[in-house]
Symmetry: C2
């Protein structure tokens, strides 16, 4: 196979590659400057930095569409049609990515792009402030502005992608190729099955040894050492990244050579909180660090990830699948005693830790939800988004709908907006259509786990020894290193032999919560 | 006076202002990303980040010269000639700044710009590594590459600015409007006078109470609290900036709303090291935070500082003039005892601290040199630069020249390259012509101090109480808030009634070291 670095027989495609290398350079800068904005920047820089970041995204937008980009794309498309043999699979996929990016930008003007960037960055801060003061009034005003903007975006996207509904157009950004009908099928299936399993699981739980609560205090230094060590065991490269804690929500993202993960403040009373965050962000980080960067592929669309569904699958695989096996806790338990200076601590036995992390208990908070009820949190948000984007619901109607839905489906009721609609940052930053990708990611993670159990010999005894690297290696070979050479669902079928299906997730839950 | 925000009667000038606002946005991003590069970025991101930053500077360069910038400038110049009454002093100065920036860039192609940005960023790292391993071989190879690049730059600049020599062209970047002849006159005068004063001062010192050495240890937290508190007393706005310590050399720069100062590692045995750094960088920081940002002036050339000479004058004023008055140490002394948990400590008396910081002692290191011999370190570097840029000396010849010069002028000899040519980062990052600005800055600082003593009532008793803000207010009103509305030498004359002159520095030294 020829090096993708060499110039391609299609001069238009060679030009496009150069264009995307430069776009990628600016996008990497935007990534770093946004993380700084969200974490360590002095407060007084807020307004101007927001303006600067939005402007940078505007320039990136202009670079994508300017200077006859559409002509270059047409010429490259003509070339591939006339000389298919001259295009290997990487270049072919790369051109598909270029076309998609161009299409997504050509429908917008750069003012809309700037507004999206502005919402994405300031929304986090507004969310934080509203959450701190239970300030629904400010939140509602902000969300109304965001929804108005996102509806406009959705209209343009629906037209360009010819989707059945506005909301389906938004989903494409996170889970490409998934129809709204398909999502409803999967989600209704999960709703049905999990509603059957949930009471059984809750019943079974009553027979278990009672949980011994964690007491602590667990030092911040100890927790961060643990979190970093787990990432190191997973093969996270600290020369090209790091793990930091901050008062903010976790910050995702980064580039393969600069993957600085940020998790929220550690809780001295519960080391499992920051560990959960670290494992989740670590799963994202391993994906980012494993993306293809060699042979001139860095910065090219084909070196991007396969979208949010695949990204969340990697995070949830590490956090919820691997990180909740009994063997994981067997590895962890004795080391925790040494780390936190306590011996024969009944709260730190492998069995007790496992019981804590696999306790199924309907609750109000998505992030701290258990693996079984997690889906319902997503299903609620999905239904709201469907109606909200299509104009069948307004922001002001959400809280009442939320309360009723939670009561009817999980038997719990938020006492205030902080426990309800304001808990997640996603809508505040304009991410409508994102939530579904958590459940799809969970499905993918379970489907991959099914295959990994067949592929990696002695998997469980490896986990018990902290020998996680064969798993990361497997994920890297089959997923991370592939960039976006195929759509995520095609790749999943290539790897596992099956189309994406919720059945693997249901089986996984049956095995873990109702097995033996 | 009309608001500079409103569109100007000259449409070309209005366009230029919009252009510079956007350039300023990208330049602010470049500033932040470079600081990240130099301080907290993971090592593995080195190559790509360097590439990204250089590319960003290339884009800034293109934005300055592209799209008929020269036509807009010509039209604006025609407008001001035809309608001088429609141009206030801010807009007039702003146009002059635009012309200068355009001229400085139009002579370069963007590859040269990219190479300059690359050298500026990677030079710091190369310097750090060479210094760590006393690796003159690598340093020499790097410096030869830099000198070759800088000589090329100087040729283009000399032609554009019509300067007498190549080196004079380089000086313009740091001390605008200063001729090489003028510099030689000032420096020869200082050389003569200081050579007369030095033996007298050394003789006088023998009569002083002997110094009690600092012992410590002084905790890092205590030192950083002290450093931050001193900056707070000076009026540094921590909402728009901060003070951090790092293993790297100090990082200057920032923007008025994001002035994060970085100083090198604190020394547990000598709190005065980090304090000196903090006061110096604090002086820079106060200047940056005080630049005009209101009324549409932010990002405009007229809101930039007046160049390196004025910048260093602000840093040296705080560090060497204010920060070495006996009254400053009277304020400091009792607080140090509380801070470092020691009472009646003979090393921490005001008198002893003053004696430590005013000890005159020829030495090898510029940064730790006393206020009297500091000039000679600059004079050496200045002479080398003169010959190096004109091609009368090569990099390989510097070490021998350096050793001999230090021996002849200060009676000390470096034992290795770390104590000699490799001590400073400036040449490694391409800053040839910068050093002279330290001495000019020292001259300006002394000249300003002379005027401040007349203008601020009870100056010394204010210092004794830690009431530093009237000084900062004075500096802000007369200098910081002026942006670059006049050249630095004109402003100095406006403020003090005198042209820049080394006499104020000489008087200051006589007063402090030979007075009463």
């Amino acid at each position: 196979m020829k090096s993708p670095k060499a110039s391609h027989p299609s001069p238009a495609y060679t030009d496009l590659k150069r264009r995307h290398r430069n776009i990628g350079r600016l996008a990497a800068i935007a990534e770093i400057i946004s993380r700084d904005f969200l974490t360590t920047m002095p407060e007084g820089a807020y307004e101007n930095r927001l303006d600067q970041i939005s402007y940078l995204y505007r320039r990136i937008h202009d670079d994508i569409v300017c200077c006859d980009a559409h002509v270059q794309i047409e010429e490259a498309q003509e070339h591939i049609a006339a000389h298919p043999a001259l295009w290997d699979e990487w270049d072919t996929a790369n051109l598909i990515g270029m076309v998609r990016i161009h299409k997504d930008h050509a429908i917008l003007d750069h003012n809309m792009m700037e507004e999206s960037a502005r919402i994405a960055n300031e929304g986090r801060r507004i969310h934080r402030e509203c959450l701190k003061h239970n300030d629904w009034e400010t939140a509602q005003a902000h969300l109304e502005r965001v929804v108005a903007h996102v509806r406009k975006l959705a209209k343009k996207k629906a037209k360009a992608h010819n989707t059945a509904t506005l909301y389906e157009a938004l989903i494409q950004e996170y889970s490409p190729n998934v129809s709204l009908k398909q999502l409803w099928d999967w989600f209704n299936h999960l709703d049905r099955e999990l509603n059957k399993l949930l009471p059984e699981i809750m019943e079974r739980q009553k027979l278990r040894t009672p949980i011994v609560s964690l007491v602590g205090p667990y030092s911040k230094e100890g927790q961060m050492w643990l979190n970093r060590s787990l990432l190191e065991l997973l093969g996270f490269d600290f020369d090209r990244g790091g793990l930091y804690e901050t008062g903010h929500s976790p910050v995702e993202g980064g580039t393969p050579d600069d993957t600085r993960l940020v998790i929220k403040n550690v809780d001295p009373k519960n080391f499992m909180d920051s560990m959960k965050s670290a494992l989740h962000e670590g799963g994202h980080g391993l994906y980012i660090q494993g993306l293809p960067t060699k042979g001139g592929r860095d910065y090219q669309p084909v070196s991007h990830d396969m979208g949010t569904t695949m990204h969340e699958s990697q995070a949830l695989f590490v956090e919820m699948i691997l990180g909740r096996t009994p063997e994981f806790f067997e590895f962890l338990s004795p080391r925790l005693e040494g780390l936190f200076h306590t011996v024969r601590d009944p709260s730190l036995t492998a069995g007790n830790l496992y019981r804590i992390k696999t306790l199924v208990q309907p609750s109000l908070n998505r992030k701290s939800a258990d693996e079984v009820t997690y889906f319902f949190h997503i299903f609620l948000r999905f239904q709201i988004e469907c109606d909200l984007i299509e104009g069948k619901m307004e922001v002001k109607d959400i809280p009442a709908y939320w309360t009723e839905w939670m009561h009817d489906h999980l038997g719990v009721m938020p006492q205030n907006h902080m426990e309800g609609i304001m808990q997640d940052v996603h809508w505040f930053v304009g991410k409508f259509g994102y939530f579904q990708a958590y459940t799809l990611g969970h499905m993918v993670a379970a489907q991959l786990f099914d295959k990994i159990q067949q592929d990696i010999p002695n998997l469980y005894s490896r986990i018990q020894c902290g020998d996680f690297k064969p798993i990361t290696k497997w994920l890297n070979r089959h997923i991370h290193s592939k960039g976006s050479i195929t759509p995520w669902d095609t790749l999943l079928k290539d790897i596992t032999g099956h189309d994406p299906s919720p059945d693997f997730l249901i089986s996984h839950i049956e095995n873990r919560y109702l097995g033996e």
